[in-house]
């Protein structure tokens, strides 16, 4: 350090700087550990209870210990003082008696009497008396030398203040620390009293070491402290133990509930004893048993229902084949019949076609329901698929007077998809659009990015009323029940399409507004098994004119139990009614059936395509949250 910097301010500044650095470092560490502590504090009931108990009992015990120790010290001091005081009084009496022999301060024997008296009062051997020193001083008679026994220099302990008070006739005392015997500093109680004599007054002083009293005070204080500490520790342990007794079953219950909710329905708590916790465990177990029974019953019912559907479809297929053969025969010969019969034969033929379609769809649905649907994904160029569908429906479109427009990229769009299922979805969507297109153009757009392929089908028909974008995926749902079914829709097409999309791990969403028409969007991952995060195309068409009610965006109620509130997506878009349908295996399993409030989505995960995302249908443009995905998975 430079010599010029030796000023205290500079030193202080350096110290302050160092302090600040240290403090900053400490603050960082402190903050970190505080965060950790806070987390522990929030998470552990046991830690909270133990800490509170420790703090409260420390305060209480500390307070009591202080009182007790203070009291003990007080008593010890009182004892010491009164002890020495009584000794002093005895000594004063004795000295007064002894000095009664002398009537004049000049007497020859006075000095001997003073010395004998202090020797007597000090009791002789100083080693045996714990270092009590007695002194007689004739402060008013400078000619008389003071007598001290044992002969030590007490001037270091005897203060002029005390001497003055005693000289003036007061009994006074003072606590002093000093070293009379070269044995290290000792606390002394110095007590002084005037001694009346025939010739005037002399002063008697006692210097009593308080070593023993100090030891007593220290010992009792240590005992109180140790007891208090032990008490606090004991209370902490006790509270920890009690909390553990209570918290542990609760933790077990929580774990059991987690397992139950994860599907391990045969998980039960161990019931020990007959206390409240045992009651909790048995109630919990009973609840679990009831839930399990209910779920099993529901599953069984659902299974039976699906099986019934499948069985019925199969059973109908054989007589239908026979009827079909007969009807084909009649149809082939219809020219030979009466015109009325011919019309009947044609009707029969057409209805049989529909019946067959219906049966096919039912079988397909039941396959989904049974979990037998398999995805045959292969790298496929989606453009020809789109074109093929449009080509096939061209005739129907013409019949309906609806122009079909297709917008596809020039380059092939390769994706790992099942072309048969994609084609079925598109056929369904385009067919529906043509059917409900009211003669307006139907636009099919294909777009792709690195992760996803999207196809939108836009019509400009009557559109969808608010809420209907969810219902369209229900089995046998009709926008207008009274409307005659002209095109051969079975009412299961969108349901099957939804299942197909799910099987791919893709999305199938609907948007619609009254008078604005509707748009359906199919988004599929480019690689099978990938998770979708966004779609290359917007669900709400750009030409939609309905203003957004909520400028912050739109929210979608998630059907089923496993969903979560959707985040705002495309807040810049005017959203009329749109829907995001997501389904988890739980929700699917829990609510199945054509009349359910959610689109009938068959279970895809069990027995489904390996690697397909369980959450096949999720909201668009959701941010990836790994933690959530873990939890959800």
């Amino acid at each position: 350090m430079a010599p010029t910097l030796t000023s205290s301010s500079a030193l202080l500044a350096r110290a302050a700087a160092t302090g600040r650095r240290l403090r900053r470092l400490g603050t960082v560490r402190l903050a970190r550990s505080a965060t950790g502590l806070h987390r522990t504090w929030r998470r552990s009931l046991q830690v909270r209870v133990v800490t509170i108990t420790l703090v409260a009992s420390s305060l209480l015990v500390g307070g009591f210990a202080y009182l007790v120790a203070d009291n003990i010290t007080e008593i010890v001091l009182d004892n010491a003082t009164s002890d020495v005081r009584s000794r002093l009084e005895d000594g004063q009496e004795y000295a007064s008696e002894q000095l009664s022999n002398h009537t004049n301060v000049l007497e020859q024997g006075l000095r001997a009497t003073l010395e004998n008296t202090v020797n007597y009062l000090a009791g002789g051997d100083p080693a045996q008396l714990g270092g009590v020193v007695v002194a007689l001083r004739a402060g008013n008679y400078p000619g008389v030398p003071p007598a001290t026994s044992p002969q030590v220099d007490v001037s270091g302990i005897l203060t002029p203040g005390l001497e003055d008070r005693v000289k003036r006739g007061d009994i006074a005392h003072q606590f002093r620390t000093g070293d009379l015997f070269d044995e290290g500093p000792t606390k002394y109680l110095v007590y002084g009293s005037p001694v009346p004599t025939q010739f005037g007054q002399v002063e008697l002083y006692y210097f009593v070491p308080l070593t023993r009293w100090d030891q007593i005070a220290d010992g009792s204080r240590a005992t109180v402290l140790a007891t208090g500490f032990a008490l606090v520790v004991l209370l902490g342990l006790l509270s920890g133990l009690v909390t553990r007794l209570v918290v542990n079953p609760v933790r077990v219950a929580a774990r059991t509930a987690q397992r139950l909710s994860a599907g391990l329905l045969d998980q039960r708590m161990v019931v020990n004893g007959e206390d409240d916790l045992a009651m909790l465990a048995s109630s919990f177990n009973q609840m679990a048993t009831n839930l399990q029974r209910q779920i099993v019953r529901l599953e069984e019912m659902s299974r039976l229902q699906r099986r019934f559907t499948s069985d019925v479809s199969h059973e109908l297929r054989t007589p239908l084949t026979t009827v079909r053969m007969a009807a084909d025969l009649i149809y082939a010969e219809r020219d030979g019949f009466d015109p009325a019969v011919t019309r009947t034969a044609e009707l029969l033929h057409a209805e049989l076609d529909r019946f067959e379609d219906l049966l096919t769809d039912l079988l397909e649905i039941s396959r989904f329901d049974a979990g037998f649907a398999m995805l045959d994904a292969e790298p496929t160029d989606v453009v020809p698929v789109v074109r093929r569908v449009v080509d096939r429906l061209e005739s129907l479109a013409r019949r309906c007077g609806t122009p079909l427009e297709v917008t596809v990229p020039d380059a092939p769009v390769i994706a790992e998809v099942d072309p048969r299922r994609v084609e079925r979805i598109l056929r369904n969507l385009v067919g529906n659009a043509v059917e409900h297109g009211a003669g307006q153009p139907v636009v099919v757009v294909l777009a792709a990015d690195e992760t996803a392929v999207a196809i939108t089908v836009r019509d400009h028909g009557v559109g969808l009323k608010p809420g209907e974008e969810k219902l369209v995926f229900n089995r046998f749902w009709r926008a207008d029940p009274s409307r005659a079914r002209q095109t051969g829709g079975t009412g299961l097409g969108l349901s099957i399409s939804l299942e197909d999309a799910r099987l791919h791990g893709g999305w199938l969403e609907a948007w619609g507004a009254p008078g604005e028409g509707a748009q359906f969007r199919l988004t599929l991952p480019a690689r099978a098994g990938d998770r979708l995060t966004s779609s290359p195309l917007r669900l709400v068409p750009a030409d939609a004119s309905i203003a957004v009610a909520d400028p912050l965006g739109w929210s979608v109620a998630i059907p089923g139990g496993g969903g979560r509130p959707g985040e705002p997506a495309e807040p810049d878009l005017p959203a009329a009614t749109s829907d995001t349908v997501r389904a988890t295996s739980d929700s699917v399993r829990a609510a199945a059936g054509p009349t359910g409030p959610v689109p009938s989505v068959g279970p895809a995960a069990p027995g489904g395509v390996a690697g397909s995302a369980p959450g096949a249908l999720t909201g668009p443009r959701e941010p990836i949250d790994p933690e959530r995905s873990e939890v959800a998975g």
């Binding site: 008696e97 002894q98 009664s100 009537t103 007597y120 009293s193 025939q198 005070a217």
Partner: protein, 605 residues
């Protein structure tokens, strides 16, 4: 989080407070209240101080006399006081182990007393003719003199720097020793008798001490106690027992309240004073030694190592434990025509305690009684010689036996009352030798002295039975005697100095007082009272004729109205009157012839 910090802080404060609380290292002065206040104003140092150097003015003789009294006072300061008279440069230096012993001298007026001789240089030579009395020791006793000088000379005058004598006289060339005139003893000292047990613990022996009057009354008891602890005077050491070894006083003897209890606190060696008798004897010794103490007017408490062991009202206790076995008043007897007659004036008339058949041819006799038991020693004339006839009995000595030998002269027998366990022991001077006998065994045995037995002309026995006084070759002696298996033994002898010479008779006149008969400076026979340490001497009877006084008979209890009797020239006197038959108690059968006078007289006590 804040709450937690607060709580932790509170705990820390509590713990630190707990650790902090304790006996403080330092405090202010705390007043407990007023202490006791002395209720007497400091006394000025009162009388008892000899005059100072300048008190005499320019009177050289008074100055010289003052110088001879300067040593009087507390022994430790004797040199200091004397040196105040001596001009600086000539002052006396205390010798090693000298506790202020002072040579007491009697100024011998017969030889000239104090003679002042003026010298040309303005100074004077003072010559003091003295008789050596003794040495006043630090313990207040006077021992035999060590100096033999009969005169001392010293030079007095003004200081060389003081021509006008305004600064008073100085002793310019002092004598080499501390001197004190015996008159100062009477003026500045108080005679105090303390007591020691004899070795048989049968009687207390008085020991005369001189207490300076400068010692306040409050300290008298302490001084007496310290003397007791120090042991008896030098000459009594062979007969008087010290206190048990290791006995020390614990502090001073505090001054009691008026009428209160005087507390004597002693520390003794373990094992001493184990029996009640030991304790009682110690108590008796102390209570008698404090007889004259003004502060002991009620109870005396004896504490041993602070433990109260005995408390008695002093006067009552002394009455119950008298010093000597004296039963009633003495009875005077006189010998008329060889017969013993009781003298009138006795409080309780007791007839002559010998059978009438024995009461004849008696020259003189000595009797002693202890209760009803009497011991009698008769000196009977048998032709030209005399023979001792002794006997003892209850009230009357019925059987008397002759001693073995006949002697030309036999003095008056005396009895040592307390000596023997089997009765008193008698002493008699037979043909100038001190002989001893007992009532049952009249054969005379010589008293053994250490060294050659001196010729003795008169003997007297003290009441305590352990001290005798005798006259040998005209000199007066006191001696301690002890009865040993081979007879009575003189264990210590001390010569006393008197102003009389040609001493012829001696008897005890009190505990510490002798009467001695001799010739005074004027050539007349005189009887003087002399202290047992010869420090004080005063005339008892003067101008008693020319005939030597052959015997003295006194009742040695001071303050009693019993006159001294003496014999001179075969005539017994009471006071200065010859004892006449009229003084014989009435009822004596047959009464002595009225024309005769008593030849001898003595007291029975």
């Amino acid at each position: 989080m804040n709450r937690r910090r607060l709580a932790l802080g509170a705990v820390a404060v509590l713990l630190s407070g707990l650790v902090g609380c304790g006996i403080p290292d330092e405090t202010d002065v705390r007043i407990d209240g007023r202490g006791p206040v002395a209720n007497t104003a400091p006394e000025a140092r009162t009388g008892g101080q000899p005059p100072g150097r300048t008190d005499s003015g320019s009177d050289q003789e008074t100055f010289a006399m003052n110088y001879l009294t300067a040593a009087a006072g507390e022994p430790g300061d004797a040199y200091k006081r004397v040196n105040e008279f001596i001009l600086e440069g000539s002052r006396l230096k205390p010798k090693a182990e000298d506790d202020g012993a002072v040579n007491v001298v009697r100024i011998d007026a017969d030889k000239g007393g104090i003679v002042v001789t003026q010298r040309n240089d303005g100074t004077s030579v003072v010559t003091v003719f003295v008789q050596q009395v003794g040495v006043l020791q630090g313990n207040g006793s006077i021992d035999e003199p060590v100096e033999a000088k009969t005169s001392y000379s010293f030079v007095i005058g003004g200081a060389p720097t003081d021509p006008g004598l305004g600064g008073g006289l100085w002793v310019l060339e002092p004598p080499s020793v501390l001197l004190m005139a015996d008159t100062a003893l009477a003026t500045y000292y108080q005679e105090t008798t303390i007591y020691f047990w004899n070795f048989d613990k049968t009687t207390l022996l008085p020991d005369l001490r001189y207490l300076p009057r400068s010692v306040p009354v409050q300290a008298h008891a302490t001084a007496v106690l310290n003397w007791l602890i120090d042991g008896p005077s030098h000459w009594l050491t062979p007969v008087a027992a010290r206190l048990p070894e290791g006995t020390t006083p614990v502090g001073n003897v505090p001054v009691p309240e008026r009428g209160g209890r005087l507390e004597v606190n002693l520390s003794v060696k373990a094992g001493a004073l184990e029996t009640d008798l030991d304790l009682q004897q110690l108590f008796t010794q102390i209570v008698w030694s404090l007889r004259l103490n003004q502060l002991l007017d009620n109870e005396l408490e004896l504490k041993i190592q602070n433990q109260p062991r005995m408390v008695e009202v002093a006067d009552d206790y002394r009455q119950k434990h008298p010093l000597y076995q004296i039963d009633g008043a003495p009875v005077g007897y006189a010998v008329f025509d060889g017969r013993i007659h009781e003298l009138a004036g006795s409080a309780s008339p007791v007839s002559v305690p010998i059978p009438a058949t024995e009461n004849q041819n008696i020259v003189t006799a000595g009797m002693s009684r202890d209760g009803d038991a009497v011991a009698v020693a008769l000196v009977r004339r048998e032709g030209d010689s005399v023979r001792l006839r002794t006997g003892s009995g209850v009230k009357v000595a019925q059987t008397l036996v002759n001693s073995g030998g006949r002697y030309t002269t036999l003095g008056r027998p005396v009895w040592l009352k307390e000596t023997g366990n089997g009765g008193p022991v008698g002493l008699v001077v037979a043909d100038d030798r001190l002989m001893t006998f007992t009532a049952g065994g009249p054969n005379l045995n010589a008293v053994s002295f250490s060294g050659t037995a001196p010729s003795v002309s008169a003997v007297g026995a003290a009441m305590d039975g352990n001290r005798i006084a005798f006259v040998s070759k005209g000199q007066l002696y006191v001696a301690g005697v002890r009865l040993e298996s081979d007879g009575l033994k003189v264990v210590s002898t001390r010569r006393l100095s008197t102003s009389l010479h040609e001493l012829s008779a001696v008897d005890w006149f009190g505990e510490n007082l002798l009467v001695v008969a001799g010739m005074d400076g004027t050539g007349h026979r005189a009887i003087h009272r002399v202290n047992v340490d010869s420090a004080r001497e005063s005339p008892q009877g003067v101008n008693l004729g020319a005939a030597p006084i052959e015997a003295l008979a006194a009742y040695p209890v001071e303050g009693q109205p019993f006159q001294l009797m003496h014999e001179a020239n075969q005539v017994a006197f009471m006071g200065d009157q010859a004892i006449s038959p009229k003084q014989v108690a009435p009822g004596e059968v047959p009464p002595p012839s009225s024309s005769t006078s008593a030849n001898a007289a003595f007291y029975l006590y």
